[in-house]
């Protein structure tokens, strides 16, 4: 028999009996951030491809979700801080080795950019909108002139936003479950698929819906592939990684992962999307909600399970 015990009663808040320093605000932000990234990515992409009138929802309307999601997400992040009065220290320095530092600055840029983008399209919802002040009207003109540049900024920073959270988690080699380079692309894929699903839900244009259903299907396929790849990596790696994978292969997070994330979040909506593309008419709301739900659950499960995985004791 082998026992490895802490005998001096260590019971540090949020560290013992296993790490639980990040609660619901973090996965919530990860989901909202990923969603906003996905939505903004498609908006910028199709704008740059000149399709802003063909895919009105994607480029002009759905992006309104982004600033809301980002603000809620940032509020959640702020709420999670334990030393809130000093949050501004994040903006006194750029630390290249810290993904969280990139994130802080990226969010600054993308949130500002998304507000600007929405401001430019405010007349989708309020056709008679007037900016009242001259300097605001001048800003509008200015940004309309440089809309292409803005779109590029949004495109790039949306990708960064979508991928950096995965990189952030994967840089924690102390948490074996997160320590896989697949996590970055997987988060990006999940965010893009959430974005695509939102567009499908909101769009009134059948062609747009079909396109994004196709896109969503492809991305779901990529996600599935990455997940399988990730498990193969874990099981071929060190003891701690095998144990971490065990959390999903018989451990406490098995049910939640395979049913909520994989089945309900990827496979079933994928099948429904396929059926939709083959002509069977499926109410778009079902796969859409399922994908969003799956994306949210994926982040919850990973953040919580990752904190359970450990090297010692």
């Amino acid at each position: 028999m082998n026992e490895e015990l802490i005998i001096s009663g260590r019971d540090n808040l949020m560290v013992d009996p296993h790490l639980h320093i990040w609660h619901w605000p973090i996965p919530l932000y990860l989901f909202l951030g990923g969603l906003a990234a996905g939505v903004l990515f498609f908006a910028a992409l199709y704008y740059l491809m000149g399709k802003e009138n063909e895919y009105r929802s994607a480029v002009r309307r759905v992006p309104f979700i982004a600033p809301i999601a980002l603000v809620i997400g940032l509020t959640a992040l702020f709420y999670d801080l334990r030393h809130k009065a000093f949050f501004w220290q994040l903006y006194t320095t750029i630390r290249l080795e810290s993904p969280m530092s990139w994130g802080a600055w990226t969010l600054l840029v993308i949130t500002t950019a998304s507000f600007i983008w929405c401001a430019l399209h405010i007349r989708e919802f309020f056709p008679d909108w007037d900016w009242k002040y001259n300097w605001l009207r001048e800003l509008e003109t200015f940004f309309n002139k440089y809309k292409k540049h803005l779109a590029w900024v949004i495109l790039i920073f949306a990708i960064i936003t979508g991928v950096y959270t995965g990189i952030l988690l994967s840089a924690f080699n102390a948490r074996p479950l997160w320590n896989t380079s697949v996590l970055g692309p997987l988060f990006l894929a999940s965010g893009l698929s959430a974005g695509a699903a939102t567009i499908v839900l909101a769009s009134k244009n059948r062609e747009e819906r079909l396109l994004f259903t196709k896109i969503d299907l492809i991305i779901l396929g990529v996600e599935l592939f990455l997940i399988v790849h990730m498990f193969m990596g874990f099981l071929a790696s060190t003891q701690v990684q095998i144990e971490a994978a065990g959390l999903f292969l018989g451990g406490e997070y098995t049910m939640v992962f395979w049913i909520f994330v994989v089945m309900l979040g990827i496979i079933i909506p994928g099948v429904l999307d396929l059926m939709e593309l083959r002509g069977r008419h499926i109410p778009a709301v079902i796969p859409g909600i399922l994908v969003l739900f799956g994306s949210l659950m994926f982040r919850f499960v990973f953040v919580f399970a990752g904190q359970v995985s450990r090297w010692l004791y």
């Binding site: 028999m1 009663g9 220290q89 006194t92 001048e138 200015f142 440089y146």
Partner: protein
């Protein structure tokens, strides 16, 4: 019109402003936390003290933070008890001071005992109440019927009070509930008891035999330190324990002995040492009496005989005996501390003493050194009145070799008995939680209910306070002066305890309490000094020092008059026994009607489905006293019951599960206890640390945490020789169904 250039300029200026402001603030950011800055300032200004958490009385220094709150206690480098390093209890002594559950005001009982209904009172009221009652009891029954139970420095003053009144009945549970049998055994053999700290030359020993000692889990500071020194020097450690203790983990030999058979092993070792002529022949010939009787007595107690009883391989018995003899005289067969196990403990300790004598370790380097103490003048007072009677005169045939008042004896003699002339009527209890100290809690309660007066003096609302008539809140050792510690050690030392802070709440030192009671009881002349400061200064000036000096140095070492730490070669040592020699064959015991040589007796074994209840210590706690200390509960807040994996499989137990324990008399543990499945314990026993399972709700941190072993000790095996209460004759079984009970741990 906003141009791109302007936009960039505006943004840059904005960002620049933010960064400049931040840079300015950055200068103010320190990298030391408040706590670290506080300690640096606390390092100036310190008060000397000696620790009161256990009985070792290590001397130390108390430091306060910038707000005057006690922050840190460290050891005094000059102190031989601790060598500048306190143990975890001493270091955690600050918790005793800061504990919010401390007693704050004197309390007087309003309803029946046990209902826990008290009202706050003034000190005057409390003293008047107590004095009145004592006067009545003294008049009706005699002052001898007032008894004191003490395990704290304050006991000195209540003891003076009682003796001034004419009562000889001052009982320390540390005698009959702990070390009593070995004091009697060593007194009978070597002519002197061991006292505290034991005169063990561990740091120079070449072989340390721990039979009944779990040094490292019991935190006798100086001894643990010296054991570490011994390990550095390559000493062999031999541990005899049914459990794989920490010491066993550092031992060359661990003998996993069957419980209750230690005496057989000791006798077999004596057999091997005599048969193979490994004993220190010159030493034995010069200093001992009764060798031939001993040789005859152990003739048939061979390792093979012992193997059948103890399950220890005869080869191992021989090897370890040879190892001991090889190291002789720098060998110590440790006498243990808490030795009240099965009722034949005095005889077992006699075997330990005899073994040490054969190995020639008494009075030799690496064995037992000769302590030197120091006499401090007593404050001048009239002679104490002679008590008209005492327990010794009333019970001449009972426990003939006990030479101190037995705590359990007083307890028993309080329970009304028609065949007895009188009972104890009043108890004063200072610094000992009798409910957890005395086994057979039911008996203790019966005695308490029969009392006319129960006064409890304590710092914390321990269980015993709930039964009191008057509770007097004592301030902690950090808030008071006490008598100087004069310890016997390699060199005699005096240590000062001075208050580091004013008593918190409405607490007072025991000196004040005893003095106020003395005033009311007409014996104030036995307390000639009004304050401890005056007394201490007077005493110190008598011996060439002063209170001022002691406050600066904390500990004063006095040189030994002679360089006689060990026997000189061929020294004609006179031992304080009848024969003047080390009595291997004890004439004193023979005279008193007991076996002059130890015999092995078989003890009862656990019935089917039951396991022997073994208990012990953890190095971060002591007694039941520290279970509420915030710093120490941080280390260990509950005990667990160690279960062997074979047993766990049988019962379906797993680590972390909570179960109740029930003993052979059907007594169930009050609270459930956590299971630890471990290979470290034998399949016929279970093990738990003593001092948990507090039932007093006012101990908010420790209430309901863990289980109390005392709860389950209903069967008491009394040693007929000196009245020691053997507590290891209880067996427990598991109750796995908690029936929806809430677990408080």
């Amino acid at each position: 019109m906003a141009t791109r250039r302007q936009f960039i300029r505006i943004s840059a200026m904005g960002a620049g402003a933010v960064m400049a402001g931040a840079a300015g603030l950055r200068l103010l950011a320190s990298e030391l936390t408040d706590g670290q800055k506080a300690t640096l300032t606390a390092l100036t200004g310190r008060t000397p003290t000696y620790c009161e958490v256990c009985f070792w009385k290590c001397a130390g220094w108390v430091y306060k933070d910038e707000r005057g709150s006690i922050q840190k206690i460290i050891g005094n480098n000059e102190d031989l008890n601790c060598n500048g390093r306190l143990c975890p209890r001493g270091t955690g002594g600050v918790g005793m001071y800061h504990d919010e559950d401390r007693l704050r005001k004197p309390l007087i009982r309003t309803e029946e005992r046990g209902k826990q209904s008290f009202r706050e009172a003034t000190w005057e009221e409390a003293f008047d109440y107590i004095a009145e009652k004592i006067k009545v009891i003294s008049a009706e029954h005699g002052p001898e019927c007032v008894a004191l139970f003490t395990h704290g420095s304050g006991g000195k003053y209540f003891s003076t009070l009682l003796r001034a009144l004419g009562s000889p009945h001052v009982a320390a549970p540390s005698y009959a509930q702990c070390r009593g049998p070995r004091e009697v055994a060593f007194q009978a053999t070597f002519g002197e008891a061991l006292e505290s700290p034991e005169p063990l030359d561990i740091r120079d020993t070449r072989c340390l035999v721990l039979i009944g000692s779990h040094l490292g889990e019991n935190m006798h500071n100086g001894q643990v330190q010296e054991m570490s020194d011994a390990i550095d020097k390559g000493a062999t450690i031999i541990t005899v324990d049914p459990r794989f203790s920490t010491a066993a983990g550092k031992s060359k030999y661990w003998l996993p002995i069957k419980p209750a058979t230690d005496l057989a092993l000791l006798l077999a070792w004596i057999n091997v040492i005599i048969t193979e002529e490994l004993y220190d022949r010159p030493y034995v010939e010069k200093y001992t009496y009764g060798f031939e009787y001993l040789k005859e007595h152990v003739k048939n107690m061979t390792p093979e005989w012992a193997y059948g009883i103890t399950t220890i391989d005869p080869t191992v018995i021989r090897e370890t005996a040879r190892e001991m003899a090889n190291a002789s005289p720098a060998v110590i067969v440790h006498p243990g501390r808490h030795v009240t196990w099965y009722g034949d403990d005095t005889q077992r300790l006699r075997a330990v003493a005899i073994l040490n004598a054969l190995l020639g370790s008494w009075g030799r380097r690496g064995g037992f050194f000769r302590t030197e103490t120091f006499e401090l003048p007593e404050p001048p007072h009239p002679a104490y009145p002679t008590p008209k009677r005492s327990w010794r005169t009333e019970f001449p045939d009972l426990y003939k070799m006990a030479d101190t008042v037995l705590a359990n004896g007083v307890c028993d003699a309080t329970v009304p008995d028609p065949t007895r002339a009188c009972e104890f009527q009043a108890w004063i209890v200072n610094g000992t939680n009798l409910m957890e100290t005395l086994p057979n809690q039911e008996n203790t309660l019966k005695a308490i209910q029969a009392l006319q007066l129960l006064v409890v003096v304590d710092t914390m609302p321990m269980e015993i306070t709930g039964w009191a008539d008057v509770v007097l809140p004592e301030c902690t050792y950090l808030e008071r002066y006490d008598d100087l510690r004069v310890g016997p050690h390699r060199k005699p030392q005096i240590a000062l305890r001075a208050p580091a802070a004013e008593p918190l709440y409405d607490t007072k030192p025991a000196f004040y309490m005893a003095r106020e009671l003395a005033k009311r009881l007409g014996v104030i002349e036995y307390f000639p000094f009004e304050t401890m400061e005056e007394q201490l200064d007077w005493q110190l000036k008598q011996v060439g020092s002063s209170l001022e000096e002691m406050k600066k140095i904390g500990v004063k070492t006095i040189d030994r008059p002679y360089d006689d730490l060990y026997f000189y070669p061929d020294e004609d040592v006179e031992f304080y026994t009848g024969t003047g020699k080390i009595e291997l064959y004890s004439l004193a015991m023979e005279e008193a009607g007991y076996d002059p040589l130890p015999k092995y007796t078989r003890h009862e074994e656990p019935p089917e489905g039951y396991y022997r209840l073994n208990y012990g210590r953890a190095p971060m706690h002591t007694f039941s006293r520290t279970a509420n200390n915030p710093n120490l509960t941080d280390l260990m807040e509950e005990n667990s019951v160690w279960v062997n994996p074979r047993v766990a499989r049988e019962w379906g137990l797993s680590t972390g599960q909570y179960v109740h324990l029930m003993n052979q008399d059907g007594k169930r543990s009050e609270f459930p206890i956590r299971v630890r499945v471990t290979e470290r314990i034998r399949w016929d026993s279970v093990y738990m640390v003593h001092g948990f399972g507090h039932q007093e709700k006012k101990l908010r941190r420790s209430y309901g945490k863990g289980a109390s072993d005392t709860n389950l000790i209903t069967r008491v095996l009394v040693d007929p020789i000196m009245g020691g209460t053997g507590m290891r004759g209880n067996f427990v079984t598991f109750i796995t169904d908690l029936a929806g009970e809430e677990v408080m741990s």
